[in-house]
Symmetry: C2
Subunit: 339 residues, 2 copies
Amino acid sequence: MAGIKDVATLAGVSVATVSRTINEPDKVTEQTRITVQKAIKKLNYHPNVLARDFRTRRTSRIIVLVPDISNTFFSNVIRGIQRQAKGLKYAVLLGETRNDKGIEREYASMVLSRQADGIIQFSPSNPFLDLAKDNDPLTDFWVNACECISDTTTPKIRIDNTKAMETIANQVLEMGHKKISVLLGPADSPLTISRLSGVYAALEKKKIDPKSLTKIEGDFSARSGTQAALDLLKIKTKPTAVLCFNDEMAFGLIHGLKQSGLSIPEDMSVTGFDDIELAQYCDPPLSTISQPAMQIGSTAMTALHKKINGKFNSDLEHILPADLIVRSSIAAPRQRQIS
Amino acid sequence: MAGIKDVATLAGVSVATVSRTINEPDKVTEQTRITVQKAIKKLNYHPNVLARDFRTRRTSRIIVLVPDISNTFFSNVIRGIQRQAKGLKYAVLLGETRNDKGIEREYASMVLSRQADGIIQFSPSNPFLDLAKDNDPLTDFWVNACECISDTTTPKIRIDNTKAMETIANQVLEMGHKKISVLLGPADSPLTISRLSGVYAALEKKKIDPKSLTKIEGDFSARSGTQAALDLLKIKTKPTAVLCFNDEMAFGLIHGLKQSGLSIPEDMSVTGFDDIELAQYCDPPLSTISQPAMQIGSTAMTALHKKINGKFNSDLEHILPADLIVRSSIAAPRQRQIS
DNA sequence: TTGAAAGCGTTACCAA
DNA sequence: TTGGTAACGCTTTCAA
């Protein structure tokens, strides 16, 4: 395995010059640059990054902490991170946390032991909590995406969940629905809280009694959507529309409702949130909110890069636009409510 | 930040002894071990992993190369890798390749430059190809999962695609279908080839003319499934069943067929492959082949670990079991074929 | 069992 | 612009 020394010898220059041609090409003559690059190619030389990292105390690696890898919405965010990371010369370490604080902490300690430069966190918690014994500045190197903590120091990259939810709720109410229901995520999740307040805002605008809103708690899984269908059918005054707080639950809900003989949207309108790829192939195609997943990812990567490099960050909150996608899973309610 | 030297000084021993107490505790007296550990604690010493990696030429990091992160089947394999990696003390670097050989090569060079110890590759190609000028032993550190190359040296972890496809084709033929169609992946993909031969095997068993099989090429995306529906409807003698080579395409196909007024499975039976989470929430629920995704991942991680550590590997081919999942997307054909 | 010391392959400082 | 060379913090011989 050829080392920098071999390259230097072959090119007839010093190791310092080889190092420079690689890292600061502007600081060498074009002449020597060409010679050195030729030698590099000839020897098939790959710099030993371990040695470089060791020397520079930098890894060019960042960690992405995601609660659930198989959620396709996250996949797209990760893809955005990945692409941006490539441009900024970072490698992406992936960690699935299943919302386990212990696992989050383990990954965070990889930053303290300099195995990675920083963290992109998708959950509303500081992974460095309880870890910052020495008030270590390294514990600052993280940004929060999608579902965010409420502090004033961490960069946040997300959509306006309240506004997005209000938009889709408005759409449903405009169609004439009076009695609606929501299928929430976990009750304590900031995502659930902010989206729910969007629903309330829409109700208020239409002067509909917020108490008429039926709330069912789910966990963002399709399975919990199917479960919710059963709960829903037990209600005496059934809603004519259900707003699900993500697409997977909407899939499960629709499945459950159909099994019980209901037609969507004739008997009940259903909406989702996220616009995962399969949403348009749902039967009926799902009305939902499209999040700019890739853009969230790339923005988060850029923000982390700035944070790591100590750049001043004037805008801590990056609120990206989300779009209402109307498909045929919603329609005006029937004149009579179903019994 | 305290270093190993500080610990040595405080404990009144040499750095070598400190190193030993950390890495080979059995090789030091209990007496000194205690002294050293006390010093470590007092100084809040954390070994510099960068220095250790550099010195040992090992990173405890592996790269996972996946064509498409947002494919939920891959997500589950990755999860399996992740869990196993944790036990074996590896961190997982994720790379999305979009089947781009250039990107694969870039990641492979990260192994040569010692940023990672090895690669788990999901595509049927050697990522180190064109990169191994010096016959570098490092280029051996990879394993192939799911869709595999045909050589005799690379460990392979996959299901028996031919057999699995034959199983589901048998199921459909047993139900009485005579005229069937297949929705393939890319024609040159080993996955397509092996699964297709499974279909032929099933046809032969039933003495059905293989020429009666209508083949439509897709690209494993839902969109290509919807496109295939259009193609299918143009055929004069329509099939009564379509075997899709993955679930996403089945989703798209069913969507397209329904749009054209067909009922599934009454007018046409449809099957998928992979059993992604949403398959059971499809309308009708999708019959498919369930791959042991997590197990594929963990097995691949273990195999790579062995490869890296130069362990003799008697079984290069790990063929894992796959299950037929029968749901209501298939049924006996109608007596008369639809016009 | 312990210690002294030689690297590991870079980068970065200082001189030339 | 270039070269010589001292770090970087650890592991790992080799002797004691």
